[in-house]
């Protein structure tokens, strides 16, 4: 504990204390008692060679009540003589400056008691100033910051100085001349006995990081837009196919059906029973072909949705459902096409799942338009246990909803039914 150079200084202190009539105990920096003079030993009855580990142990050995016995406590700091020489100190400082310059990080300290602020060389440079070129305080600092970011910085600095709250803040420079545009400023207040005595901080040039962020945001926006375009293009294609089917093949089959009916009226039924029978067969098969084509067309695109809107389309959906299904709410007004399609497919898919997997007995569909979004809820009273997993129709729906910046969630506890909820933004 006592290096040779310090031995004499320490020894002299101990001798001086031992000669006092007043009881004295010496603590070093980490609150450990290291010396009890003879007067103190006599008062406490403690053995100077075996002192307790902390001040509390000494205090508990004091006799009598408060105010009856007095013990002086001396706190000493032992400065290591092997600390840096002035030359080593300068070299260390130079290396720090160099590291800061390379990393484009500046540092500063503010002594709150002596009201003094110090900037490192790099700190000056970051803010567009020559190193150590001028005196800095909170006012000059704020003037270097972009006007729009000043209020936030001032508020953060206040909170740090008064309440000891550390902060990390991004801000722009007032002078956009240099290549430094964005800075991340950090501050750590140092407290002593509940008061902020010092603040230390670093500032880092984050201009490049910010540029990357902006570029990323732009890319993301482009991806979002293209995603919607792709979905819309696919929907438009399906609409076209359905229309072609309807206007083409379906009309033709209807026409054939009618022609067949005309043929039957032209036939002398008594005279040609075999022909009549054949015509009946043809008629039945035509009806089946027509029904199949209708189902196919409907699977490709719900024409009712485009022609007449969401409410009639959902009504049609539940009417055709083998399971009792009900639309409990649906806005009358038309919504954007992409939204109507997403909602319709959601309802159709949920209904299909309720029928095929959940063994439900009842399904309700609810569509409500709030201020700036639409909420769709489809509930069934089936088995539950459904998930939005890859390979299920719900995954594709989830993608479609995400492309519209919406959210799809599912609540399907086993044995307790399934509720599919989607929130979609809507102007």
């Amino acid at each position: 504990m006592s290096p040779p150079a310090a031995k004499s200084a320490w020894g002299r202190l101990v001798s001086a204390l031992d000669g006092l009539d007043e009881p004295v105990v010496v603590l070093v920096e980490d609150s450990r008692p290291v010396h009890l003079n003879p007067a103190g030993a006599a008062l406490t009855g403690l053995d100077p060679g075996e002192l307790p580990g902390d001040l509390a142990g000494i205090a508990s050995a004091l006799p009598g009540r408060a105010g009856e016995a007095e013990l002086i406590v001396l706190t000493a700091q032992h400065l290591d003589a092997a600390l840096t020489t002035p030359e080593e100190h300068a070299e260390s400082r130079r290396q720090l400056n160099q590291a800061q310059a390379v990393a484009r990080i500046g540092s500063w300290t503010a002594d709150m008691i002596e009201r003094r602020v110090e900037f490192s060389d790099e700190q000056y440079r970051l803010y567009g100033l020559e190193p150590q070129s001028r005196h800095v305080d909170i006012h000059t600092f704020l003037s270097l910051i972009h006007p729009e970011d000043r209020a936030a910085m001032a508020a953060a600095a206040d909170r740090a100085a008064l309440k000891g709250e550390p902060f990390k803040l991004e801000h722009r420079l007032a002078d956009a001349g240099s290549d430094v545009e964005w800075i991340e400023a950090r501050c750590e207040p140092v407290l002593s006995r509940g008061r902020v005595v010092r603040m230390v901080g670093t500032c880092m040039d984050i201009t490049e990081r910010k540029r990357h962020e902006e570029s990323l945001q732009a890319s993301l926006a482009e991806v979002r837009a293209s995603r919607i375009r792709i979905v819309s293009a696919a929907d438009e294609e399906r609409r076209r196919v359905e229309r072609d089917l309807h206007d083409g093949a379906q009309q033709r089959l209807v026409s054939l059906t009618m022609a067949l009916r005309v043929a039957r009226t032209q036939l002398d039924e008594q005279a040609h029973p075999a022909v009549l029978a054949t015509l009946e067969e043809i008629s039945e098969e035509l009806q089946m072909a027509l029904a199949e084509l209708r189902d196919l067309a409907r699977g490709i695109h719900p024409a009712m949705l485009t022609e007449r809107g969401l409410a009639p389309a959902l009504e049609s959906l539940v009417l055709r459902s083998p399971l009792p299904a009900r639309v409990v709410a649906c806005p009358d007004r038309r919504l954007p096409a992409s939204l109507e399609i997403a909602i319709y497919y959601l309802a159709a898919e949920a209904l299909t799942n309720a029928i095929k997997h959940a063994h439900a007995s009842r399904v309700t569909i609810s569509v409500s338009a709030e201020d700036n979004h639409v909420v769709v809820e489809v509930c069934d009273d089936g088995e539950g246990g459904a998930r939005i997993a890859a390979g299920t129709g719900l995954r594709g729906l989830s993608d479609r909803v995400a492309a519209l910046d919406g959210r799809l969630s599912i609540h399907s506890p086993p044995g307790a039914g399934t509720t599919l909820t989607a929130e979609l933004p809507c102007e």
Partner: protein, 120 residues
Amino acid sequence: MRETVVIVDDNEAFRERTRTLLDAEGYRVIGEAGDGAGGLRLLQELRPDLALLDVQLPDTDGFTLAERAGTPDGATSIIIISTREATDYASSVTRCGALGFISKSDLCDRTLREILDGVR
């Protein structure tokens, strides 16, 4: 003699076939129109017993036309027709004041009678 009929549908071939069929079944087709405006005129001038209105017309839809052409005394029975099925249109049919709906592929004397004689 059976009812007088006006057919409103933009598909000419369909109108022709329907006319042939209905004539053969004893109905009298007294007018044809290919759009809503023409259809409205015919219905108001001719006042047929029966009007067959297609849902999809170039200038309007069958439901709107039915509402406009509907006579207070119910002199003209209006039936909506379409390539699509009844379930696609559900409540719209009753709301517009039409007597009923027939899918084109089902159009024949029997289905017409079902509606006209009130069986449906």
